[in-house]
């Protein structure tokens, strides 16, 4: 059975989890909110608390799945800094707006991608 880690499980990530499960994959869904993690569990996937901006957190999830199922065949990063209880203008707003500061949310996106790409499991 191929194994997948889906990071971000609220909306798109959850649909990916459901599709993979119905194709016979073993799936773990990673999120932060308890509500999302519960939803992942009730769909039949393993729920993992992962901070996508923390490389160690992403690596730990991959290692956990590798130890449990032998290997990870697919990792999907669908994490988004928007959604849930987080608010604010989507995209940060106009550049000249007094409310726009160097948006932490925008910087989260490449950080998250970097964590997923650079996470390396140690050779066993």
């Amino acid at each position: 059975m191929p194994t997948a880690l889906v990071i971000g499980a609220r909306n798109l990530g959850f649909a990916v989890i459901e599709r993979l499960l119905s194709d016979g994959w073993t799936v773990a869904g990673a999120a932060r909110s308890l509500e999302t993690l519960a939803k992942v569990r009730s769909a039949g996937a393993e729920a993992l608390d992962v901070d996508v901006t923390d490389q160690a957190s992403v690596l730990a999830a991959l290692q956990h799945l590798g130890a449990r199922h032998g290997r990870v065949d697919l990792a999907v990063n669908a994490a988004s800094p928007y959604g849930g209880s987080r608010s604010g203008p989507f995209g940060g707003g106009p550049l000249a707006s007094p409310a726009t500061s160097p948006s932490r949310r925008s910087s989260l996106v490449p950080l998250a991608a970097r964590s997923v790409f650079s996470a390396r499991a140690p050779a066993s």
Binding site: L12, R19, L74, F90, P94, R105, S106, A113
Partner: protein
């Protein structure tokens, strides 16, 4: 994933802001362009380890409430795109796949 050996796939999801800076979303686009760059670099770096890296550009508003709004993308169709990327033959792999609702205004 590289240490475990053997083929694997990484799918990075992003939005239309990875291709164009839209008004009101400049800061977001700065991050999204960066994700595209990282994904391209990773795709090249991980090739010899048989890791297929793909960027899925969701060039759309994603329907969050299960409506039939044809101007939005539904999560199920996007999940189909992920499954497609995960199952490709190594003879022809996709490194960037863009999806957009046919009824939505589209800028290449």
């Amino acid at each position: 994933m590289s240490a475990q050996g053997g083929p694997a796939t990484i799918v990075q999801v992003t939005g239309g802001s990875a291709r164009r800076g839209m008004p009101g979303r400049g800061l977001w686009a700065a991050g999204a362009f960066g994700v595209r760059a990282l994904t391209q670099a990773a795709a090249s770096e991980l090739r010899e380890q048989e890791i297929h890296v793909a960027l899925l550009i969701v060039d759309a508003s994603i329907d969050r409430s299960g409506t039939d709004d044809l101007g939005t993308a539904d999560p199920g169709s996007l999940a189909d795109a992920v499954a497609y990327l995960a199952g490709q033959s190594t003879r022809a792999v996709t490194h960037e796949l863009q999806g957009t609702p046919a009824r939505d205004n589209w800028t290449p």
